[in-house]
Amino acid sequence: MGVLGPIWAIARKDLLLEFRNRDIVVSLLVFSLLVLVIFNFAVELTPVNRFVVGPGILWVAVAFAGVIGMNRAFIIEKDRDALDGLMLAPVSRDTLFFGKALGSLVFMLIAEAVLFPVFTVLFDVDILRVETAVIAAMATFGFSAAGTAFAAMAVNTRSREIMLPVLFLPVISPLLIAAVEATARVAEGGSWSDAAQWIQLTAVFDIVFFVAAAVLFHFVLED
Amino acid sequence: MKIRAGAALVIALMALVATAAMAMASGEPQTSEVARAAQQETNPNTNLGYLFAIYAITWAGFFAYIFLISRRQRELEREIKQLRQMLEDRGRAA
């Protein structure tokens, strides 16, 4: 099994469950598509501003949908008392964290794989490029690492549906800024070097929050 | 002991603030041309209202907070006294 075995086992459990009832990915996807449509009504898009406004709307959709998806992932565990079962499993808290974060990462990437082409069609902003894929993967990585830690915390509180966005959205604001700006640079036809500083910022956020969330996670689930 | 802890806190805070102030002073922002132009157009005397608002709000915030927490503290002290009294009575009765 090694180190990766248990992590994969936990992620696979989430993916299998998801494959059967498609709870999270479907809600993620439908919600994020709706955000795109709603923003289309709220903001007057012109050929000039679509490159500036579009990426912002795209990442707002991803962030809001991600909050809902990650809340869901932990509420399922909590309501069926599966979290206690997971905590009894002979694996470390780190392993639990990596497993759950991996599951969230896969769900979000699947949703983004549909969302990005739809965005390109609706907003007439071509983001179907290698650069955007790398940026999206990096941002989603930091998003799911930080989000998993916060979702595990929020699920233990009263009014948990509101606690996650309230705690999580301000914390990831630098990641959102970086993702929006990097996507905008690339969408305008820029190359790697145009988005470089934003990609670096995303990388810094990813590393810091991956380490911090992994270290702090066992305090979340301590009982 | 308690007073010493409070004094230590004040000294530590002063040190922290001094460090922060020095860090801020070293990175002094430059005045932009636009800001200068905007300043020259404003009549200094019309800004008095803003100035008083700033001081009034800060003062009101500090006062209200200190008032609220000292009231809460008095309530809690009374509650503690009652609970202690009750525990003693119970202990004697038992």
Partner: protein, 247 residues
């Protein structure tokens, strides 16, 4: 507990005296700055409370880390007190800054790096206080809050860096108070005295808030004892004890 009261009264009186001296220096003694006019005098309050609101972030992080390591409740109380006073001072920083910006920058708000960072951090610590209100009482709630406190402090430089990069990526914004380049020595002294007065007032609030938190913990512990005894003695129900304690 009663023994500390005279000391605190003296401190409170000293705070008031210091504030009075500060106000005299700010409004009467210090000369008016040439570029900005009278509104520049707002700096003597705004800068100290802005610095304190950042220091509060550090204090919460120190309390939180120490609590997670030592598991001693007093560090959690300290972190909680720092967060609440920090949110208050942060709110005052944002409000006073906004009022200052209106006549100087002609807008109430601009997405400058310092403003953005202060606002985002303020939201993180409002979230911290909400978490404290909604989390289960006792050790778990304190641990969750400590994690938020630590993450907030870790995030602060990243937010500042991102906001700074973001703003400079959008040219044409108006940045930085213009007054600081032309400070006279009187202005420096006024700022120093004001800083001391505000740090002292803040410390007083912090200590008072800490004592309230400690008293709350004492009430919780005593209520627990009381309910235990009444459960054994069967003379009064737990509800009676709690009701009596609340009168």
């Amino acid at each position: 507990m009663r023994g500390t009261v005279p000391g605190r009264s003296i401190w409170l009186a000293a705070n008031a005296a210091l504030m009075a001296i500060t106000l005299w220096m700010i409004f009467i003694w210090v000369p008016t700055e040439a570029n900005l006019g009278v509104i520049q005098r707002a700096l003597y309050f705004h800068v100290p409370i802005a610095i304190i609101s950042l220091v509060a972030v550090v204090l919460v992080a120190i309390g939180s880390v120490t609590y997670l390591v030592t598991n001693r409740a007093r560090w959690d109380w300290f972190a909680h007190a720092s967060a609440e006073t920090g949110v208050l001072v942060g709110a005052l920083t944002l409000i006073t800054g906004s009022i200052w910006a209106r006549p100087i920058w002609n807008v109430w708000w601009t997405w400058d790096a310092k403003l953005t960072t202060t606002l985002i951090l303020w939201f993180i610590f409002v979230g911290y206080l909400m978490l404290r209100a909604y989390a289960p009482a006792g050790g778990q709630g304190a641990r969750l809050a400590a994690i938020v406190g630590i993450i907030g402090a870790i995030d602060a430089p990243i937010i500042y860096f991102a906001a700074d990069l973001w703003r400079t990526a959008h040219p044409g914004r108006i940045a930085g108070p213009g007054a600081e380049g032309s400070m006279t020595s009187e202005m420096g002294w006024t700022l120093l005295v004001s800083m001391i007065a505000i740090v002292s007032a803040y410390s007083y609030m912090l200590v008072e808030r800490y004592r309230v938190r400690r008293a709350e913990a004492a009430v919780e512990a005593l209520s627990r004892d009381a309910s235990l005894i009444s459960a054994r003695g069967a003379s009064a129900s737990r509800a009676d004890v709690l009701a009596a304690g609340r009168v």
